[in-house]
Symmetry: C2
Subunit: 348 residues, 2 copies
Amino acid sequence: MIRISLDVMGGDFGPEVVIPGAAKALERHPDVTFLLFGQQERCMPILEKFSKLKEKSTFHHCEVAVGMDEKPSQALRRGRYISSMWRSIEAVKTGQADVVVSAGNTGALMAMSKFCLRTMATIERPAIAAIWPTLSGESIVLDVGATIGADAQQLLDFALMGGAMARALFEVERPLVGLLNVGVEEIKGQEEVKEAGRLIREAGLDTIDYYGFVEGDDLGKGTVDVVVTEGFTGNIALKTAEGTARQIAEYLKAAMSRTLLAKLGYILAKGAFDRLREKMDPRKVNGGVFLGLNGIVIKSHGGTDAEGFAAAIDVGYDMARNGLTQKIENDLKKYHARRPSSAGPEAA
Amino acid sequence: MIRISLDVMGGDFGPEVVIPGAAKALERHPDVTFLLFGQQERCMPILEKFSKLKEKSTFHHCEVAVGMDEKPSQALRRGRYISSMWRSIEAVKTGQADVVVSAGNTGALMAMSKFCLRTMATIERPAIAAIWPTLSGESIVLDVGATIGADAQQLLDFALMGGAMARALFEVERPLVGLLNVGVEEIKGQEEVKEAGRLIREAGLDTIDYYGFVEGDDLGKGTVDVVVTEGFTGNIALKTAEGTARQIAEYLKAAMSRTLLAKLGYILAKGAFDRLREKMDPRKVNGGVFLGLNGIVIKSHGGTDAEGFAAAIDVGYDMARNGLTQKIENDLKKYHARRPSSAGPEAA
């Protein structure tokens, strides 16, 4: 049984999307139970419509909902201990839930998650990992925006954590990990990226397979299982790819409706177009995973619909079922045990 | 008359692509004359096949050709003064040509261009500007890889130079300029980007219109005419977009050949697909522009074909005809004249 905690008030639409999304996810994963946190008067009328979900859920009333444009500091001040966001995260901390899913605002969710769950002992900064659709399947890309900038050691931590997530998600034994850079030659790139490459090679990690540098176009190709970068570049790469996909979808739509023949062709090829749309559907890969905390937090897009929110729950389900937090902890322990100069808690 | 200098040996295919490309460009711009630099024995047999081009060209034999994987320092050592790359750039310096186009390796081309043409008086670092296809037309994005990292003043310089290029290319009076960032709120982002935003606002420039921050997905939308970022992020955004476009083209191809109905639909809609392919054709937007040097240098993709190389010549033609270098110089002068603390050469 997997116990999933939901911030029902999070996202642009709150319970209108979160509750139907949970109902969809429940159909796919009958072994799930939910802990729902939200404003009773807004949530209950909707929950009443989904009797199966209601049966598998416990509802917890929270007066305060964090706003989508509240600053992290403001959200913490106003919503700590009492908001639906905080309490849904707290359920993971107390062990009542295996994972929490929220479509609430990223900054506030990260701030509350850090405050409530704390980062793992040897991790300085958590990261947000995205699941990236590629020509050969899916890759993990991190950090896509938890923090700006990262030094070599932090990039190595990202490589370890992304590797653990790849093992949980793709069931590969030693995921192939690459560092995002502007050239494949050793001489190019940012100092921190070059230094991270050296660190990873020298660490001789046996939980991942280090590929070397990858470039922007390797993301779509799926050259590696895990692409590591700092949050500024990762966020811009992610949004650039989303924007390009939308742009091409617009071109396609315009091209297919311009002439009668094109329209007829479109009708005949509709099955193919539907499959294509599904491949390009950003809802299918919804769900950023916060890595490096003592617990699993999944961030859904704020503007998603029920299908998209269900996809974020799917990601949380997979992560919890495959013991993501434990995997990361084990990998970090292994790495620090091999490292003579380690300042890990065991060495203190 | 526009005089274009060509590094005929540059690129993966050298004269096999450069000469037919020049012939194509000449058809579109009959007022062009060419200065061709390359190895006589490789170039002449090809040039013989294009009599119109031969008539409008002067050929200059150069024994040395810069290799596609030579390091900049090595290329400078081996090819300064004598290579086809150097001499084609030198023709701009001596005033024999208005612009140079090369498909040679980026690092060597930038190093030689800096060494030969020198950067403009008040510019610390040149930038590479890309022309980015958008839903509303085209935008200019810089820097896409000349240097890694940029401080606030350098980002302001990029904004000025990109603005001048937009005026040369799009014929808008005050191009809209945005800074690439990870969020639209003023509180987010890299320190240098925030500082650059302040600098640009305070400078009260009348040659550009400052929009504020843009995000990765604004690139494809065409939210602004000019997107400013440092070279690491810009290069990764560019390659991520190229990779995503290729990825979707692959999906489309696979979808359209899967069933008989889809194939039939494809045949009927072929005209529409051809237009779509043209829109997505990376050759159509080939040609990075080096900004900030005393002369115009256009970098073509190394692996492009004749059509792509002709597109790079088109860009060079437009830049030269619209007096890009002069426009940038004027804009920089205006900016530094308004700036009391300016350390420009006039102030010395």
